[in-house]
């Protein structure tokens, strides 16, 4: 999920950089050197995983996974996502320098919110944890879609319909991300629970 360059207005670009600077700042501060390798390699995994296309009916969508990365990294999701997005810009021209702030905020802010909302619930027994994992995947994408829509709308009110379309096309993806997050967290819980918060 990203916004192409040239679409955003000056104030929105500035706001995006402000949020991202704060988030990356907190993330880097919390990132002691014990965890630099981990964050870098998980960022790489996040980058690669988001290239996976899953079938959605006759078409396909690529995964977003910011819910999972939020649960795994907490605030460090900010620098990790910023780096991954810069690499996406370099490799695929998804976004560029001016949109880096907004695009990072769109993905990382929901990741951190979901971390605070759902991380404590993952340790609870069966159903609660599963529901939390599913909601985490769903909500992270939903919030990202809303932020993306908002960034478009605040850039130019004429983007209202475009923003609405962008948000609504993400509805099936939210559900799929919910399931993927549910199963993925279930996997981690069985195989390497110490990775979860």
């Amino acid at each position: 999920m990203h916004i192409a360059e040239g679409v955003l207005s000056g104030p929105v670009i500035a706001a995006g950089f402000a949020v991202t600077a704060v988030g990356v700042g907190i993330g880097l501060k919390k990132l002691d050197f014990e965890h630099i390798a981990e964050t870098g390699i998980l960022a790489a995994t996040f980058f690669v995983a988001s290239l996976v296309h899953v079938p959605v009916g006759p078409s396909s969508a690529h995964l977003i996974l910011n819910g999972v990365i939020g649960l795994l990294l907490g605030w460090a999701a900010f620098p990790a996502i910023a780096v991954a997005l810069l690499l996406q810009a370099v490799f695929f021209q998804f976004g560029g320098f001016t949109t880096l702030g907004v695009n990072t905020a769109i993905m990382a802010l929901p990741a951190v919110v979901c971390f605070y909302l759902f991380a404590p619930l993952l340790k609870k027994p069966g159903k609660i944890a599963s529901t939390a994992a599913f909601s985490c995947g769903l909500l992270a994408v939903f919030l990202s879609a809303v932020l993306l829509g908002g960034a478009l709308y605040f850039s130019n009110e004429n983007f209202f319909e475009v923003a609405t379309i962008a948000i609504s096309t993400h509805i099936p993806i939210m559900i799929i991300e919910g399931f993927i997050t549910l199963f993925c967290i279930g996997f981690l819980k069985k195989v390497r629970p110490e990775m979860l918060p």
């Binding site: 192409a4 360059e5 040239g6 679409v7 955003l8 670009i13 880097l28 990132l31 002691d32 050197f33 014990e34 630099i36 390798a37 981990e38 964050t39 870098g40 390699i41 998980l42 790489a44 995994t45 980058f47 690669v48 995983a49 290239l51 996976v52 899953v54 079938p55 959605v56 999972v68 795994l72 990790a80 910023a82 780096v83 991954a84 810069l86 690499l87 810009a89 370099v90 490799f91 695929f92 021209q93 560029g96 320098f97 001016t98 130019n156 004429n158 319909e161 475009v162 379309i165 399931f179 993927i180 997050t181 199963f183 993925c184 967290i185 279930g186 996997f187 981690l188 390497r192 990775m195």
Partner: protein
């Protein structure tokens, strides 16, 4: 397969230091992002095309990169003329096409494509390692630079792991479809990818300790500007000024400040 298609090459652009190119790309991107008028945007597109030719990029491959934004542009060309109002250009009983939407769609098309082409010509012509060092010399926090270098180093390895696992699923007759079995399989595959990455991260951290790493990142790269770097920066400055003047002539001063 992730590839750095344009990073190798011989051209006046490839001969510039990565720092010069990065600085120029960032400057131009922010200037173009703040423009709204036709003339300066046409000039920006002209500049972008000159840069693409100077970088001697394979035009076919470069053109294909424009497809990245094609979907989005198609969407706005369909939606905006119908929804933004303004003087009516054409209408029937259901639809009304307005001038405002067309102007906006044109502005976005010019902006997006010129920014993409500039990025392609200046940034995609270096390896990401070079970009990281350039950003370091432009005062990006060292920790973030190190993160960028590590992420870049491992994406290829991890992509390879992912592709191999997908192949392993394929030879066991896995067929993707819209089904829970499919999503569950992908989720497990990705879970395994995350677990393997976390294990690898532990080993990498240990390997870093073995080489006396203490959290401080020292870059090896030093940049020395050569005449061509100054010439190029001069050209970029002139282009920027021309674009800004183009924008100013129409927008009155108080509106910008």
């Amino acid at each position: 397969m992730i590839q750095e298609t344009f990073s190798q090459g011989h051209s006046p652009i490839h001969n510039l230091t990565p720092r010069t190119r990065t600085l120029a790309a960032i400057l131009l991107a922010f200037i173009i992002a703040s423009c709204h008028e036709l003339m300066p945007l046409l000039m920006a597109l002209g500049g972008a095309i000159i840069l693409i030719f100077t970088a001697r990029l394979n035009l076919f491959k470069a053109g294909r990169r424009l497809l990245v934004i094609a979907g989005f542009l198609l969407l706005i060309w369909i939606v905006l003329p119908l929804t933004c109002g303004g003087p009516v250009i054409w209408q029937n009983s259901f639809l009304k096409i307005g001038q405002t939407g067309i102007d906006l769609a044109l502005e976005l098309t010019l902006k997006t494509s010129s920014m993409l082409l500039i990025f392609l010509a200046l940034i995609s012509t270096m390896s990401t390692a070079d970009l990281a060092h350039a950003l370091h010399s432009l005062k990006l926090p060292p920790k973030l630079v190190l993160l960028l270098l590590i992420t870049y180093r491992y994406i290829f390895l991890i992509e390879d792991e992912l592709q191999t696992m997908l192949r392993a699923a394929k030879i066991r007759n896995f067929q993707p479809g819209t089904s829970l079995h499919c999503y569950k399989t992908y989720a497990n595959l990705l879970g395994m990818l995350f677990v393997r990455s976390a294990e690898r991260a532990q080993r990498v951290h240990k390997a870093m300790l073995c080489r006396a790493f203490d959290g401080h990142f020292h870059s090896l790269t030093e940049y020395h500007n050569r005449p061509q770097d100054y010439c190029f920066l001069g050209f970029i400055l002139i282009l920027s000024v021309v674009i800004i003047i183009g924008e100013w002539q129409i927008v009155t001063l108080p509106a910008i400040f």
